[in-house]
């Protein structure tokens, strides 16, 4: 079957794929940074113990996690203009991905913080450490180790989710495959190539995740 593949066409379309890869990479990077910020804010609100901050954060997180990403993307894509807010597709896409990933990241961060024994926090309280000091010296150093691997896992999911942006005509990697398919009708070659590039990104991130697992996870046994 592979013999029937027309690899020459792939080379012909390589510049298109590379520019798609580049925008997928950039969209992912920007989204990841924004999603991290969103996640940190949502997590802080959720664990603040202040109801007026907690409830909106819970509502946000649960809505994002309970509805399909594609629906969220369409909602913003069609919904924002009807509210009179017109932004380019790529920004709509980034906002949707940011909101979606941010919710998952908020929960990952919360799990990391909750993994620190409440007793240690009380030990910190008893010796007069304030909130910031408890976070900085007791909670975060331990939470970080357990948080980084799942964060990278979420990053991997998010990169693959950027493929959905092709449906609102963002010129990213998947869109390159669609373009080649519609021009030459060679979907197998096109999407095989697209898949290959996603795999490249995946293995880079996985390598990072494994490395961080070895380096950062705090070990009970030394």
């Amino acid at each position: 079957m592979l013999a029937n593949f027309n690899f020459m066409v792939i080379f012909e379309y390589l510049p298109l794929f590379l520019s798609g890869l580049k925008s997928t990479f950039l969209i992912s990077l920007v989204t990841l940074v924004l999603a991290l910020i969103t996640g940190i804010i949502a997590c802080s609100m959720r664990i603040s113990g202040i109801k007026t901050l907690q409830y909106p954060a819970i509502a946000y997180i649960e809505i994002m996690r309970s509805t399909p990403l594609l629906i969220q993307i369409y909602f913003l894509y069609f919904g924002l203009p009807s509210l009179g807010i017109v932004v380019p597709e790529i920004q709509t896409g980034i906002i949707a991905l940011m909101l979606n990933s941010g919710a998952y990241i908020a929960e990952i961060l919360r799990a990391g913080i909750k993994s620190v024994d409440q007793g240690q926090i009380e030990a910190g309280l008893s010796s007069g450490l304030n909130y910031v000091q408890r976070m900085r010296f007791i909670i975060l150093p331990q939470a970080l180790g357990v948080t980084v691997p799942p964060l990278l896992g979420q990053a991997i999911v998010m990169v693959k989710d950027t493929a959905l942006l092709s449906l609102i005509s963002v010129a990213e990697l998947t869109r390159s495959g669609q373009t080649m398919t519609s021009e030459r009708f060679m979907p197998a070659e096109a999407f095989l190539t697209v898949a290959f590039f996603y795999m490249c990104i995946y293995f880079c991130l996985k390598y990072l995740a494994d490395w961080s697992q070895r380096k950062l996870i705090f070990r009970e046994v030394y």
Binding site: G119, E122, A123, G124, L125, S126, S127, Q133, P141, Y222
Partner: protein, 242 residues
Amino acid sequence: MIEFKGVNKWFDKLHVLNQIELKVQKGEVLVVCGPSGSGKSTLIRCINKLEPIQQGEIVVNGMSVHDSATNLTKLRTEIGFVFQQFYLYPHMTALQNITLAPVNVKKIAKAEAEKIGREKLDRVGLAEKADAYPAQLSGGQQQRVAIARGLAMSPEIMLFDEPTSALDPEMIGEVLDVMVSLASEGITMCVVTHEMGFAKKVADRVLFMDEGKIIETGKPADFFDHPQTERAADFISKILSH
């Protein structure tokens, strides 16, 4: 030094502290005992405001513990707390565990804090374990580090919540020995424990709690040998047969 005035506390409907009146003098060693769930932990956790109360007042060194105007940090630096489960910070060495609060709360210079920290480790017989992580220490050693961590703040009061209950029997002695020597140094101590030997040796007073109430207080010898109430007698016979 520590005074409870008409303190009441509820967990939802559970009346966990019922009209507590108690005075602990400076330098006094108070042992608190009673059946599981009687409110002993809650009682001492209120002293440094790990727990809120709903009624009454607790005064420590002239500071009203639950008054929002009280400087809670200052209050807590004057009180050391030792937990049943030690709660050392597992990502820090013994010495780092001990110097964390002196450096960051009392703003003592790091070198000075380490000097004090090593003194306290020596004090609990663990001078050579300064650079060990909690996971490398036995339960008894961890609890001694936790005591050293409390002492490093030079508190006037030390609170202990069943400090030997999580330990294997062979390690109980080493922790009690440290506590006995502390008691002879004039630190005010409130100790939740069922270790009768410890109570008889160093306690000035034993307090018996049940269902959130102080049922009986007395000198250790009187209390253990001639309890006034049936509930106390019952309890003592149980820990004896144990």
